[in-house]
Amino acid sequence: MKRIMLLVLVLMPALCLAGEMVKVKVQKTSLFDQPNFLSKTVATLQFGDQLEMEEVVKDWAKVRFGRQRGYIHQSALTSTKVDMKTMLFSSSSSSGASQDEVALAGKGFTPEVEKNYGKAHPEMNYALVDEIERYTVDPNSLRSFIQRGGLKVSEGQK
């Protein structure tokens, strides 16, 4: 009996990781009304926002965010579930092992580390990097660019 209890206790944390809540792992993204990058934005999502997973549509997830429902590309999501196989057998620093990206933010290489690195290396022109990152493409103009150029984007099928 003791052994069974022990087995349950040992495996319980892994079993409990299965859940349907996911988090946004990118600074900012859109919740779309269709599984398509060019569809209407229902809401703007920020890093760490929690979403309830409802359905997977190809590379897209149908999610609920508060009272709103919509679609988000799965590459913008992180799960707290642990992919045991990947964790066990991956050794590369670049592995795509499933990990809670939101929980890891603020650890390791952080804005504080970058700030101190910048101080130690004033030749690094972070202002220029910021300038590059500030440049954004207007979604409506991009939609027009794609359509007028006879191009298309991938989309999930409902």
Binding site: K2, R3, L6, V10, M12, P13, A14, K25, V26, Q27, T29, F37, F47, S75, A76, T78, V82, M84, M87, L88, S90, S91, S92, S93, S94, G96, A97, E101, L104, G106, G108, F109, T110, P111, E112, V113, E114, N116, G118, A120, M124, N125, Y126, L128, V129, E131, I132, Y135, V137, S141, L142, F145, I146, R148, G149, G150, L151, K152, V153, S154
Partner: protein
Amino acid sequence: MKKIILLLLVPMFVGCAAATQVATSVAVSAGYITEGQKQALDKTAVKVEKAARPVSETEEYYIGRGVAATILTKYSLYRNQTVTAYVNYVGNTVVMGSPRPYVYGGYHFAVLDTDEVNAFACPGGTIFVTKGMLKMVSNEDQLAAVLSHEVGHVAEKHGLQAISSARWTEVVTTLALETAKAYTAAEMASLVDLFQGTVDDVFKTLVVNGYGREQELQADTLAIGCMKTCGYDGRQFVSLLDRLEQTSKQTSQGIFSTHPGIAERIQAAKGHGAAAARPPAPEERVTRFKKTAVSW
């Protein structure tokens, strides 16, 4: 007893120190292990948890910013609104056809003011293309080929693979699970040194040594898939490689020093369907390329 030890190892080797601590506490209560053994197992679990962690996406972003800042010490930024806008339109289009359209800080495309023929993908999504490379492309589809290839490197995190595993183990095992506010001045100094080493590892691969053959072929495969998804003509990928191969016979600078084996890449690209016929590009696509190309 052996079975008990094996059970204790399960949470430890999935990298869950907290679960191990629960399990070892139960094992001590039940008399299976001593308090000393518990402490040893708990310590090992913490070490395993730390070492198992790959580079997080926020760390990838900061490493990429460091690499971009380093590249900008070597090259000047080409500040032409028309060109920057056009490159970003094409870049953001191909991103939507990639397997990783979202990265922490988003994709950003910029032009370097040099005649050297090259393009660089910083981890995290900042992609540089040189004016020399822009002069090499003959149409928008070829520009899409260059940018798709670089997006492929980001999607596959090839830049991060350049980080010395010994350095990353040091980052993770010594410091990385602490929050920044908990660092002492000495720890922060050590972390900054490790950050610099990490940025240098990636920079050297991107700019000096180049990626490995497998990584280049993988990025090509992704690029062709990406172009097809977006409606660009994959044959232009092969045409561009043909042109690069011809140019490589005259110079060994820039991309030609870091991207050998173009002939093999051409064959592989054809094998991945890059030679499949597509309808001609609409007039709008042809015209906007020509209008923008006069600025580079």
